[in-house]
């Protein structure tokens, strides 16, 4: 029983990290930049298709496709930022929401046209398949261990980038008070453009990492929309720590709930979330910022 429990908690953590990797880009665009970007999943899907096409048609190894997925989504994100998103930074949230959900439908149609409605095959390299037996009946999926490690490194790097680098300071300044930041000589437009592209790139990276567990088809942005928004909004928009903690908790609750009370389905998970939001309407980790 303890072995099973250990495996379940591990599975929950790995699932949580996957959710976090999928949503971390959104904690940059929605959380830090305060743009309601429902099209986040579209950039994730772009990363996924980039990885699949490079593996299948160009014969790239899986790990090499990850930076490519980041780059492709970041590039498309930068172009869309310069042409479309930029116009809506000052707009109301409802307008941002309508624009970005429209973008989702365009992306679904485009992906169906380009790749067809079917699921895309993805084959992980041999060293990421199968399980490691740790003894005492504990067996851990290799890809899940890889996800955990990847998530830890990425979280640390991202935390450092936002909190310790000059660019991170500029970004926080630009988000908190664009006018004052401009007055200090910060090129706010450029900072936003880079941050937005990075957020999209992270989405692409998350998408490429998620396809083995979540599959990839043109409805990927819609399928992942609710869970990704939940992680960022209920975790605490504007923080990086909140979504991470929430994703991990969500993963563990989901896996344990399904194992011990399968007949309740997703009920356990969403009940836990409702309880959380009743107790902490601002999200798991409340924003320490002065404004609402």
């Amino acid at each position: 029983m303890t072995a099973t429990l250990a495996v379940l908690v591990f599975d929950g953590l790995a699932y949580g990290v996957l959710l976090y990797l999928l949503s971390v880009g959104l904690s940059v665009t929605l959380g830090l930049m305060n743009f309601v970007n429902l099209a986040h999943g579209a950039f994730a899907m772009l990363g996924g298709y980039t990885a699949v096409v490079l593996m299948r048609d160009a014969g790239w190894p899986f790990l090499a496709t990850l930076p490519a997925a980041f780059a492709a989504s970041a590039a498309v994100g930068a172009v869309l930022e310069a042409t479309l998103y930029r116009r809506l930074y000052a707009a109301a949230h409802l307008e941002q929401l309508l624009f970005s959900i429209g973008l989702v439908f365009v992306s679904v149609g485009a992906a169906t046209w380009a790749f067809g409605p079917q699921q895309q095959p993805v084959a992980l390299p041999a060293f990421l398949r199968g399980q490691w037996a740790l003894g005492a009946g504990i067996e851990l999926g290799r890809y899940r261990v890889f996800l955990l490690a990847f998530g830890a490194v990425l979280t640390a790097a991202l935390g450092l980038a936002v909190a310790r680098t000059r660019f991170g300071a500029q970004l926080r300044a630009a988000v908190d008070h664009a006018t004052a930041a401009r007055g200090l000589g910060i090129a706010v437009g450029r900072v936003f453009a880079i941050a937005f592209a990075a957020g999209c790139g992270l989405a692409g990276l998350g998408g490429a990492l998620a396809i083995d567990l979540m599959g990839l088809d043109p409805t990927f942005p819609l399928r992942t929309l609710v869970i990704v928004l939940t992680v960022v909004a209920a975790g605490g928009a504007g923080t990086l720590r909140g979504p991470l903690l929430l994703a991990l908790g969500l993963g563990i609750v989901d896996v344990l709930g399904k194992y011990f009370v399968p007949q309740a389905g997703a009920f356990v998970t969403w009940t836990a979330l409702i309880a959380l939001l009743l107790a902490r309407p601002q999200g798991l980790v409340a924003l320490a910022r002065g404004r609402a």
């Binding site: 409605p117 079917q118 095959p121 084959a123 083995d212 979540m214 599959g215 399904k258 399968p262 997703a266």
Partner: protein, 416 residues
Amino acid sequence: MSDPVSNAFPVDPQRGTPADMAARSRRRVLAGLGALPLTGLASRLAQAAPDEPLRIGLIVTLSGPFAEFGHQMENGVRLWLRQRGDSVAGRRVELLLKDDTGPAPDVAKRLAIELATRDKVHVLAGFAFTPNAVAAAPVATQAKLPMLVMNAASAGVTQKSPYIARTSFTLPQVSAPMGQWAAKNGVKRAATLVSDYAPGIDAETAFRKAFEAAGGQLADAVRVPLKNPEFAPFLQKLKDAKPDAVFVFLPSGEPAIAFMKGFDERGLKAAGIRLLATGDVTDDASIDAIGDAALGTITTHHWSMAHDSPLNRAYVKLWTDAYGAKTRPNQVSVASWDAMNALWAALERTRGVADGDTLIGAMKGLRIDSPRGPVTLDAATRDITQTVYVRRVEKRDGRLFNVEFDRFADVRADVA
């Protein structure tokens, strides 16, 4: 026509006063006169009907997560037209395509009404999902339109209207044979895992009944949510139950792919648990996406791309020539091809007469040669009776196929 009254309706003096008699005979005359041109018109209509194109209203899923179903249906139908030409029994055939967007009974019903009243179609066809078929059934009944179900696989769909015929399969039809086969082939304890909706419960029930009747013992029955399931906890549950085999039904596509990969990853295969499933899980359109994790899976279903017959080889070649080798046909395309096949055969029987009662009547007991082998539309239920094959996933020339190695002949759709 000298004196139709006296000839046709001899007067009976005992039936009433002369005035009554006169009135009654006038009515009879009028009725008699009216009937003559009407019968003439009817026979002329029957002759004239073949000049009017036969309109088929296809209600298929062309957008959303289940667009693959619509894709397969449309391709199957168009393949038939490509092969046989677009006219039958002297009538040109027109297709009208409508997108029901997925499991959406309200949309399917609205589209069926539009097709019946505005577009005046002669036949309704398509229906990937049971709820959609059930919602459209009353429209078929009221408008007296034959309705060809090309997928929707819950038991009893054809009972929803006397005008429905089904060319696909039912879940009990393919799940019960697996229960029998498993019990006969060394599986003593089996666990089941199905999607938690009507077809899943159909599959679970049919497998359990057949398996237990043949002496098997059920170790666990797991139902998983239809959408976005993370399979880790369910797979762990199956692993802990330590059965000889797991029987699975999941809709083809993303859930089936995620499950198959997880089954391999989590070492259930390595632990010696055999994987049994309905053919949905390893269907030809998604087996490439599952990859080598599918190897060795045993499934029961009615069609495989690897089915060995001249007709099937011709079908697969036709598909590959039309749509390329990258996309693969699955059982949905074959059921759609066969719906056209049955419609053609029925129209040849009725010489192009396409009113609902005549046409559905011609389909009762109809036997057609399908790429899957000969199939019959049952005379009473209009549901399909067919051979169910036992298959194993193997690699041939570097590609994965469901290779048949055993069969259950003439399995009825309503197998108990």
